[in-house]
């Protein structure tokens, strides 16, 4: 791999990784507050994108350039749909199975929310699939990041080229990611969320609105997912069934960054994006390993990796 190609792979990997990072941040945030693994999270991202597309472009979208009004509409709709879906999944499929605040002994009905999350994701895929019958669609870019320069590409030193769009995606993704991370540290709501994640019972006893804080976390996670969907979808052909693997990759990113750490999730996303991009660019592996390797990484990290002590997924049966 020449230097130019490597740089190109690195930059497009960062762009992909910024989107993974945003999705992983939402996953980590939700996990931190509730210890719930959001099984439907990836489907929400894709669901948000396609709901926006359906409402603005109808069921036979083409990736033609949009006017300003539909562009703004699409962008807002996708993010709002992601947030709304996430809140809906929480209220319908997750919350009924969570322990009431302060119920020390039980961790709620784990099987309930696992099944609820899986079912919610499946429903999003299948219901959208009823309307959008093709295997994959090309989705236009409402943010028009590709038009920052006339040609849409930049020459890289060493012979590679990179789409300007990728640089825009990196910029937006990192900016939003860092902004949200900072907000969670400095605001009162952020501190309250931290308290809930450390001890929900104690938080409830202080009068903290635990359920509202959890709902806010799900909404933020959904909105971050929607934004990630906007960033990621114009670069590829997208099918309604792509959500699961996208979600699993985001979980892999969250685990790489240390589960429960919002900052780590963003970093993990960037790392995974770069890894995937190099796999695709590599002449040995190639695109067919683009899904296989991240899933394998997820399994290995789950089974062998170290997780934070308090937020661990392991339960050594001692």
């Amino acid at each position: 791999m020449s230097g130019g190609v490597a740089l190109q792979a690195f930059l497009s990997g960062l762009a992909l990784g910024a989107a993974y990072g945003l999705i992983a941040m939402g996953f980590s945030l939700v996990y931190r507050l509730t210890r719930v693994i959001a099984f439907a999270h990836g489907d929400l991202v894709i669901g948000g994108v396609f709901i926006g597309v359906l409402m603005v472009l109808g069921s036979t979208p083409v990736a033609a350039a949009l006017d300003v009004a539909p562009s703004v509409g699409l962008a807002v709709l996708v993010i709002a749909a992601g947030a709304a879906l996430s809140a809906g999944v929480y209220l319908i499929a997750v919350r009924p199975f969570l322990p009431a605040a302060g119920h020390q002994s039980n961790r709620g009905d784990v099987l309930g929310w696992v099944a609820g999350g899986l079912a919610a994701g499946l429903l999003v895929r299948e219901v959208l699939g009823l309307v959008l019958t093709q295997d994959a669609y090309a989705v236009p870019d409402p943010l028009r990041l590709g038009r920052l320069t006339p040609s849409g590409v930049l020459q890289l030193p060493g012979g590679g080229t990179v789409a300007v769009r990728a640089l825009g995606v990196i910029g937006i993704g990192l900016a939003v990611g860092i902004l949200v991370e900072r907000l969670l540290v400095v605001t009162r709501t952020g501190t309250a969320m931290k308290a809930v994640s450390e001890d929900p019972t104690a938080a409830a006893l202080l009068g903290l609105p635990v359920r509202r804080l959890v709902l806010i976390a799900f909404v933020v996670a959904g909105a971050l997912g929607g934004l990630a969907g906007l960033l990621i979808s114009p670069d590829r052909s997208l099918g309604v069934d792509d959500g699961v693997i996208l979600g699993l990759k985001a979980i892999a990113a969250a685990l790489l960054g240390g589960l429960g750490s919002v900052r780590g999730a963003l970093a993990g996303g960037l790392a995974l994006g770069v890894i995937e991009s190099f796999i695709v660019a590599s002449s040995v592996l190639g695109p067919r390993y683009a899904d296989v390797v991240p899933l394998a990484i997820l399994l290995i990290v789950l089974a062998l990796g170290r997780q934070g002590l308090r937020l661990r997924l392991r339960e050594d049966p001692e």
């Binding site: 009431a100 605040a101 302060g102 002994s105 009162r188 501190t191 309250a192 931290k194 308290a195 450390e198 001890d199 019972t201 104690a202 938080a203 409830a204 006893l205 202080l206 009068g207 903290l208 609105p209």
Partner: protein, 243 residues
């Protein structure tokens, strides 16, 4: 009208009953100790009063108002604060952040919160020295001060303290007793759940003794303490007060 009145409270976990027809009351500015062995139902009383646990029947009245079906948030607003057992600080937050969360419901008024925080620091000067430290790095006694101080941040008229002395060294227990007396002197009533008999006997105006979910004894401290059943409950056959 009593500050807190518990009438015929029954509660359980699933099919297992934990409380059966528990009644007692707390007057303003008074310290009432709930005594009993592990599993007697003391903590369940506290959890039912503070809205963490739903009673299956019976009533909890606070200022004469029925709060049996209220959630914890509403109950904190009304002025009842429950400090649960186990010294549950938020370990990765600083002492100051921990305290401020205690006043979350009034948290938008920054100066009010700061004022209350200073009040807590006056009661527990040790906390003021460690205000920027993470709560997880405090000693056991300091953590206990922190959770009590956090409970006081909502300016409650009734403070429910669940086993504050558990696992503390004797010197810390003595300091704790003084703090509780100071809190009462400030006009806040206290329900003190204790296994440590000495602490309860020294501090409480009245005692309520639970056994297997029933109130078996209640009354003024001196009267109840003289009852032989107390000694039996704690020490098999020895009465500690005779030694």
């Amino acid at each position: 009208m009593a500050l807190l009145e518990v009438r015929g409270l029954c509660a359980g976990y699933g099919a297992v009953p934990a409380l059966d027809d528990v009644s007692f009351h707390v007057e303003r500015g008074e310290i009432v100790a709930l005594l009993g062995g592990n599993g007697a139902g003391k903590t369940t009383v506290a959890r039912s009063v503070s809205g963490l646990h739903r009673a299956s029947s019976g009533k909890v009245l606070f200022y004469g108002r029925d709060i049996t079906r209220c959630g914890p948030q509403r109950i904190v607003q009304l002025g009842l604060s429950h400090v649960s057992d186990g010294r549950r600080v938020f370990p990765s937050l600083t002492v100051e952040e921990n305290l401020d969360l205690g006043a979350y419901l009034d948290g938008r008024r920054k100066n009010v919160v700061a004022e209350r925080r200073e009040g807590v620091y006056r009661t527990f000067p040790r906390l003021a020295e460690r205000r920027t430290q993470h709560a997880g790095s405090l000693s056991g006694g300091e953590q206990q001060m922190l959770v009590i101080g956090r409970g006081l941040m909502s300016e409650p008229s009734l403070l429910v303290l669940d086993e504050p002395s558990a696992g503390l060294a004797p010197t810390s227990i003595a300091a704790l007793g003084e703090s509780i007396a100071a809190i009462r002197a400030g006009g806040t009533a206290v329900v003190l759940i204790e296994q440590h008999l000495q602490v309860a006997l020294q501090l409480a105006d009245r005692l309520v003794v639970l056994q297997e979910g029933h109130v078996i004894l209640s009354g003024r401290t001196a009267e109840v303490a003289a009852d032989p059943r107390i000694g039996q409950m704690y020490f098999g056959d020895r009465n500690p007060l005779k030694t």
